[in-house]
C-alpha cells in the first residue's frame, strides 16, 4: 500500500486515493474528424508500460483533486507527483 504525495495536501495513505489509468491522453479536439481507428486509439489503446509510467490519480477522500503520478511499475516506487496541466517530469 503506497504513500502518495498529493500535490495539494502532502503525503497520505493510498486508501484515500484512486487510480484512473494512464495520464497524458488528451481528449481529441474534434472527435468527429477522426477515423474509427484514431478514435479507437484514444478510447482503448493504453501503453501498459513495464517501468516508468505516468498515470492519473484522485485524492477522493481528501481534496478531491486530480493529479498525475510518475510510477515505476516494476518497483512500484512513485518518483513524482504533479498537478494537472504541468509538464511531465523526465524519467
Amino acid at each position: 500500500m503506497f504513500v502518495i504525495k498529493c500535490p495539494y495536501c502532502g503525503e497520505r495513505d493510498q486508501t484515500e486515493f484512486s487510480c484512473h489509468g494512464e495520464a497524458h491522453i488528451a481528449r481529441p479536439e474534434n472527435p468527429e474528424t477522426l477515423t474509427d481507428e484514431e478514435w479507437g486509439e484514444y478510447l482503448f489503446i493504453r501503453s501498459n508500460k513495464k517501468g516508468i509510467h505516468y498515470e492519473r490519480w484522485t485524492h477522493d477522500h481528501g481534496c478531491r483533486r486530480w493529479f498525475n503520478v510518475m510510477r515505476d511499475t516494476v518497483s512500484d516506487e512513485i518518483l513524482a507527483t504533479y498537478k494537472m496541466g504541468e509538464e511531465k517530469p523526465k524519467s
Binding site: D13, N30, P31, S75
Partner: protein, 1002 residues
C-alpha cells in the same frame, strides 16, 4: 503420574502456579509459563493429532509458530478455534483442547486406512480425480471433504470483540531475539519512535533457551537487563504475543496482537485480539531462523522433533521430553542440545551422517558418555503412537549406498537437525529478492527494498557477537538517517555461544531401508503429508517448475506455508534434476505469515457497522409506519408499506392504484443532487449530456442522458436552471458519487479553463414526490405560489414556501401522473412530510416505496439506468434517439455513436414484452430465445430487464433488451424458465399506459 518429564528446576515457568487443563477430555496439570505443547510433553503426551492426508499419528515437531504437526482444536462452542498450534498456545486455568482430524479418537482413527492406501492417494490425487468422469468427482468430493480437512469451524457466531489500531513509527523492529533487541536498543537510545514486535509472551528468542554468555551474564539475565532498559524509554513500545502478518509496499505492515487469548477469563475492557496496521519509516527484520528437519524414512512419528525445539523444552520449560535420546544431525550446532540433554541425565546417542566429526565435539561427547555414530543414517523408525526404536546403518557417501551392519537402537525421543533456514517469509513478501547461501545451504535476503534492513540469523549471520554488534549498528544507522543519534555505543566485549552454527549441507533425503521412490514415508511437508516420493512423482509426471511442483504435490501449501519444508523440497528437486538449488528457484511467500482470524481483520466492521447506512430525514417515520426496507447502495429506502396482513403484491397494487387514482407520496430524498455554479455551466452541460442546454431558461427543467466516451448510457436525471449561473442536477440514487466524479474529472483534466463549480447537495435536501390526479389540488392549499395548470406547466420549477418552509417545487414526473417534487432543506423534511400526511388525509394520501415506483415507471416505459441498461447500451438502443442532439458538434460519447459496432442493426434494443398467457410474471434476467431447446445451450437473443405485474393494466408487463427488437414488433419469442417451462411472449412497444402522456399534463 503427573509432570513425570518435568525436571526439578530451571526454565521460565513458575512451579508454584499449577494450572489445570484438559486435552482430549483428560485432565492434566501444567505450570504458569507453559505452552500446551510443553505441558503435554511434561506429562509425557506425545501424540497430538492425526495428519491431513494419511491420518498418521503426529506429535510435536517445533516449539514455535512454524509448527506443522501439533494442531489442535482449542476451546468450545462459539469460541472454538481450529488448527491452533499447541506450541504457541499458552495454557490457562480451564483450557480445553482436543486433537483434530481423527475419528472416533486420536488413538484409533478410521481415516488412517489412507496410510495403507497411500498408493491410491499419490501426489496430484485431487487433480487426477477431476479427469475422471465428472459424475465420479461428485462422489469423491463428498468422501474427500469428509476425510480431509483439519479442524472444525465454530457453527455459531463468535462473541468476542476485535479491535484495530493504526500506528505510525520511526522504526519497526520485527522480532525480539538477540538481534531485534539490539536494533531496538540503538534506535531507542537515539530517541526514535520504536515499535518492537515479538510473537512470544516475552522477548528474548533464542537467548531464552541457550547457554550463551554475554559479558559474564548468562543470556537470560542479560536479556532481562536489556528489556529493562528498553521498557524505561517512553519512545519504545514493545508488543508481545504479536505476529507481523503482512509486509506491503512502502513499509506498510499488518500485525496480529493476541491480547486476551492467554487468559482464563474474558475481559469486557479488552478485546480478544488487536489488528495493527503499521506504517514505519524504517523496518528492521530480525526474525531469526527455523531449524531444518531431516528427510528420512519414518521421520514423522510422535517423539521425533527438531533439536532446537527439544532444547527449548528443556531449558525454557524445564521439560525433558525423553530419556533415551537419539540425535540425528548433519551439523555441529545440534551437539549443544545433545550435551544439554546428557547433562540433565538423558542417555544420548548421536547419529551423524558426516564422516569427519571435529575432535573437539567427540571429546566433549565422550565426557558426558554420548556415543556417536559417524557416517550413519537413520534408515527406518518404529513405534506407532510414539517412537520406540530406530534402525541405523552406515552410509557409503560416495556411492550413496548403505553399507555395514544394520543396528537397532531403542529410544523414546529422536531429535533431528538439518541446519537452519533464515526466516525470509516477510522479507520475501516485501518483494525483497533472495539468494542462495552456499554454506548455510539456504536462502538469505539479497536486495533490500528501501528503508529496510535485515539483521542477525535472519540475514544468515549466526555468530552471536557479530549479530549483537551489527544489529545495534543497524539501529544506529537508521536513527542517523532520521536525524537522530545515540550517545551510547554498545559496550559488549564478549559474547560466547557454545557451539555456534556455521554451516550445514542440505540433504535432499536420507537413504532409507526402502527405496525413496517406492512409497517410502520420507516426509518433506508434514502438514500436507507430502513425501519425497511425491516430489519424485511430480517430476516424473512433468511438473518440473517449482510453482507446478508446489501445486501438484501441495508441498508448502499448508497453513504453515512450508516454513519447515520448503528448502528441503527445493533440495530434493535440485537433486532430481541435478541442478544447483539456486537454479530451481523458490515459490513466493504471501500474507499472512501465520494463520489469522478473520474477526481481527474485520475488527468493528461487523453487523450494522459492516457498511455505512444512509438514512433520509424521514427514515424514522418509515420505520414507525411499518415500512419494509430495501438497500439501494448504502441507502435504506422503504420498499413498500404493508398494511395489516398485506403481502408485497397486495401492498404494491394498493400503492400503485392510489397514485393513479388519487395521491401518492414518495420519499425521493436519496436522489443524487449536485449544485452547479459558474458562467460556463450551460457550455459544460452541453458536453456532458447528449441533448442541448444552451437555451434552457431560468426556472426550467430538462431531462438528460449522460453517456461515457464509448457512447454507452451511464446516468440520467433532470437538471434545472435555478438562476442565471446556477443549476440543480439530479442523478440516479446509486450513481450520485459516480456522476460527481465524472463531472470533476472533465473539469479538472480536460476543460481546465471552464468556470464551473460542483457541490454535492444530496443530503442537504429532502425530496417529497407527490404524484396523482389530486396532487395539484392538494399542494395548492399548502404552497404560497400559484401552481395552477396555466401558471406552472410541466418541466418548470418554482421557489416558494410549502407549509411555511422555503422550498423548490419541480413539476416533473417519474410515474406519468401529474407530479410535483418538493425540495425542502433536510432539517425541515420530516416536518413537511408530517404536514403532508396530515393534510393529505382528505385524498387518502398513500406513501409508496421503491417497488411501486418501479412498477409505475415501467408502466410508462421509463428506464432505470443500471437495470434496463448495463453499460453496453446506447441511447439509440433504448429507443431514446430523440434525446441525442444532431446539431451539437461535440459531447461525451457522440463520436462513438458512429463506430461500426454501435451502428450495427442487430444490437439489442429496449422493447416491451407481453406474455401470451396474460398471467406469468417473467423473472428478471430471464433469457429470451427464438427457439427453445430441451436444454442449454440455446441462441440467446436478449434478456428481460424489468418485469412486474401491472395493477393499472391488470396483467404482467416487462421490458426487455432484444436483438433488433425495435423492428420485431408483434413477433412471438420464447422465455425458457429455470423450471423447464417455456413462456411465449409478444414484442410490443415499451410504453404500456397513457402513451400520449395526457395524464401528466392534467
Amino acid at each position: 503420574m503427573s509432570n513425570q518429564n518435568r525436571i526439578y528446576k530451571g526454565g521460565r515457568i513458575d512451579r508454584d502456579l499449577a494450572i489445570n487443563f484438559k486435552f482430549n477430555g483428560k485432565e492434566y496439570i501444567g505450570y504458569q509459563g507453559d505452552t500446551l505443547a510443553s505441558a503435554l510433553l511434561a506429562n509425557d503426551v506425545h501424540l497430538i493429532g492425526r495428519s491431513f492426508k494419511y491420518h498418521r499419528p503426529r506429535g510435536i515437531l517445533t516449539s514455535g509458530s512454524e509448527e506443522p504437526n501439533a494442531l489442535v482444536q482449542l476451546g468450545l462452542g462459539a469460541r472454538t478455534e481450529p488448527n491452533m498450534r499447541a506450541t504457541e498456545i499458552e495454557i490457562y486455568e480451564g483450557l480445553e483442547a482436543s486433537s483434530q482430524n481423527c475419528w472416533p479418537s486420536v488413538n484409533f482413527d478410521i481415516g488412517s486406512i489412507n496410510n495403507f492406501l497411500s498408493r491410491v492417494f499419490p501426489a496430484g490425487f485431487y487433480y487426477k480425480t477431476f479427469m475422471w468422469p465428472p459424475s465420479l468427482w461428485l462422489f469423491y468430493e463428498h468422501f474427500i471433504r469428509k476425510a480431509a480437512g483439519l479442524g472444525v469451524a465454530p457453527t455459531v457466531k463468535n462473541p468476542d470483540r476485535y479491535e484495530q489500531k493504526f500506528h505510525y513509527c520511526d522504526i519497526l523492529v520485527v522480532g525480539g531475539g538477540a538481534s531485534g533487541l539490539m536494533s531496538a536498543l540503538a534506535a531507542g537510545r537515539s530517541g526514535c519512535d520504536v515499535l518492537l514486535i515479538d510473537e512470544k509472551p516475552e522477548p528474548g528468542g533464542y537467548l531464552r533457551n541457550t547457554s550463551a554468555k554475554i559479558d559474564n551474564l548468562n543470556s537470560n539475565d542479560w536479556t532481562n537487563e536489556i528489556l529493562k532498559e528498553l521498557e524505561s524509554y517512553d519512545n519504545v513500545t514493545i508488543l508481545n504475543r504479536t505476529a507481523v502478518m503482512g509486509y506491503y509496499d512502502y513499509n506498510y505492515l499488518t500485525a496480529l496482537q493476541k491480547v486476551t487469548n492467554h487468559l482464563p477469563y474474558l475481559s469486557d475492557k479488552m478485546p480478544r485480539e488487536r489488528y495493527w496496521r503499521i506504517r514505519a519509516k524504517k523496518v528492521i527484520l530480525a526474525q531469526g531462523a527455523f531449524e531444518r528437519p531431516l528427510v528420512f524414512s519414518g521421520n514423522d512419528r510422535p517423539g521425533i522433533m527438531l533439536a532446537s525445539a527439544a532444547r527449548t523444552y528443556l531449558n525454557q520449560f524445564g521439560v525433558l521430553p525423553g530419556k533415551s535420546v537419539i540425535l540425528f544431525t548433519n551439523n555441529d550446532h545440534a551437539y549443544g542440545t545433545a550435551i544439554d540433554f546428557a547433562n540433565k541425565g538423558a542417555k544420548v546417542t548421536i547419529v551423524d551422517n558426516r564422516e569427519d566429526i571435529p575432535s573437539e565435539l567427540s571429546d566433549r561427547c565422550n565426557k558426558v558418555k554420548i556415543k556417536i555414530y559417524p557416517s550413519h543414517s537413520i534408515i527406518n523408525t518404529h513405534g506407532y503412537q510414539k517412537i520406540k526404536k530406530v534402525e541405523i546403518q552406515k552410509v557409503d557417501q560416495d556411492n550413496n549406498e548403505l553399507t555395514g551392519s544394520l543396528r537397532e537402537i531403542e529410544c523414546d525421543l529422536v531429535l533431528m537437525s538439518g541446519g537452519w533456514n533464515p526466516s525470509v517469509q516477510l522479507f520475501s513478501q516485501s518483494r525483497g529478492k533472495l539468494e542462495y547461501h552456499s554454506k548455510l545451504n539456504s536462502f538469505i535476503p539479497k536486495d533490500l527494498i528501501k528503508n529496510q534492513k535485515v539483521v542477525g540469523c535472519n540475514n544468515g549471520n549466526f555468530n552471536l557477537l557479530e549479530v549483537l554488534k551489527n544489529s545495534y549498528q543497524a539501529g544506529l544507522d537508521f536513527a542517523t538517517e532520521l536525524g537522530k543519534s545515540a550517545n551510547k555505543s554498545l559496550e559488549i566485549e564478549t559474547a560466547f555461544e557454545d557451539l555456534e552454527f556455521t554451516e550445514a549441507k542440505v540433504e535432499p533425503y536420507m537413504i532409507g531401508k526402502k527405496k525413496v521412490t517406492h512409497g517410502s514415508k520420507h516426509f518433506v511437508d508434514f502438514q500436507h503429508d507430502v513425501t519425497a516420493a511425491d516430489i519424485f512423482l511430480a517430476q516424473r509426471e512433468g511438473y518440473i517448475s517449482v510453482e507446478h511442483t508446489k501445486r501438484y504435490t501441495t508441498t508448502g501449501m499448508g497453513t504453515d506455508q512450508g516454513k519447515t519444508s520448503n528448502v528441503n523440497a527445493l533440495a530434493l528437486m535440485s537433486h532430481i534434476h541435478n541442478k544447483p538449488v539456486d537454479n530451481i528457484g523458490h515459490t513466493t511467500f504471501r500474507p499472512p505469515y501465520s494463520p489469522q482470524t478473520i474477526g481481527a481483520i474485520a475488527g468493528r466492521n461487523v453487523d450494522h457497522l459492516f457498511d455505512p447506512e444512509r438514512k433520509t430525514a424521514i427514515h424514522q417515520w418509515h420505520v414507525d409506519n411499518g415500512a419494509e426496507f430495501e438497500d439501494v447502495g448504502q441507502w435504506k429506502r422503504p420498499h413498500y408499506f404493508p398494511q395489516k396482513n398485506e403481502n408485497i403484491h397486495d401492498a404494491v397494487n394498493r400503492e400503485c392504484r392510489a397514485v393513479r387514482n388519487s395521491l401518492g407520496i414518495l420519499d425521493a430524498s436519496t436522489l443524487g443532487k449536485i449544485d452547479l455554479q459558474g458562467p460556463d455551466v450551460a457550455k459544460f452541460l452541453n458536453l456532458i449530456y447528449t441533448n442541448a442546454w444552451s437555451k434552457l431558461e431560468v426556472g426550467s427543467c430538462r431531462y438528460g442522458l449522460m453517456c461515457n466516451e464509448h457512447g454507452m448510457v451511464f446516468d440520467d436525471g433532470v437538471t434545472t436552471r435555478i438562476s442565471e449561473n446556477r443549476y440543480h442536477m439530479t442523478t440516479t440514487t446509486g450513481g450520485a458519487a459516480r456522476v460527481m466524479s465524472w463531472l470533476e474529472e472533465f473539469l479538472q483534466t480536460e476543460w481546465l479553463d471552464m468556470e464551473v463549480f460542483c457541490t454535492s447537495v444530496t443530503e442537504q435536501w429532502t425530496v417529497l414526490s407527490i404524484s396523482g390526479p389530486n396532487s395539484r389540488e392538494f399542494l395548492s392549499s399548502l404552497a404560497d405560489v400559484d401552481i395552477s395548470k396555466e401558471a406552472f406547466p410541466f418541466m418548470k420549477m418554482k421557489e416558494g414556501k410549502v407549509c411555511g418552509i422555503d422550498a423548490r417545487i419541480f413539476r416533473i414526473s417519474f410515474t406519468g401522473e401529474l407530479s410535483f417534487e418538493i425540495n425542502v432543506p433536510s432539517r425541515y423534511g420530516l416536518f413537511v412530510w408530517n404536514e403532508f400526511m396530515k393534510h393529505g388525509k382528505k385524498y387518502d394520501i398513500t406513501p409508496y416505496g421503491t417497488e411501486s415506483m418501479h412498477v409505475l415507471r415501467a408502466e410508462k416505459g421509463f428506464i432505470i439506468v443500471g437495470q434496463d441498461t448495463d453499460g453496453s447500451v446506447t441511447p439509440k438502443d433504448i429507443n431514446m434517439d430523440w434525446i441525442v442532439s444532431k446539431k451539437k458538434e461535440d459531447f461525451l460519447g457522440k463520436r462513438s455513436f458512429s463506430r461500426s459496432d454501435t451502428r450495427r442493426i442487430d444490437r439489442k434494443q429496449l422493447v416491451g414484452l407481453l406474455v401470451n398467457d396474460k398471467k406469468t410474471v417473467l423473472p428478471e434476467g430471464s433469457y429470451v430465445v427464438d427457439e427453445a431447446k430441451p436444454r442449454p445451450p440455446m441462441d440467446m437473443i436478449g434478456h428481460v430487464s424489468s418485469s412486474y405485474y401491472s395493477p393499472t393494466c391488470d396483467h404482467p408487463i416487462a421490458l426487455s433488451l432484444i436483438k433488433n427488437g425495435l423492428n420485431r414488433m408483434g413477433d412471438v419469442v420464447k422465455i425458457p424458465l429455470m423450471s423447464g417451462k417455456v413462456i411465449d411472449a409478444t414484442i410490443t412497444d415499451s410504453i404500456f399506459y397513457d402513451k400520449e402522456g395526457a395524464r401528466n399534463n392534467e
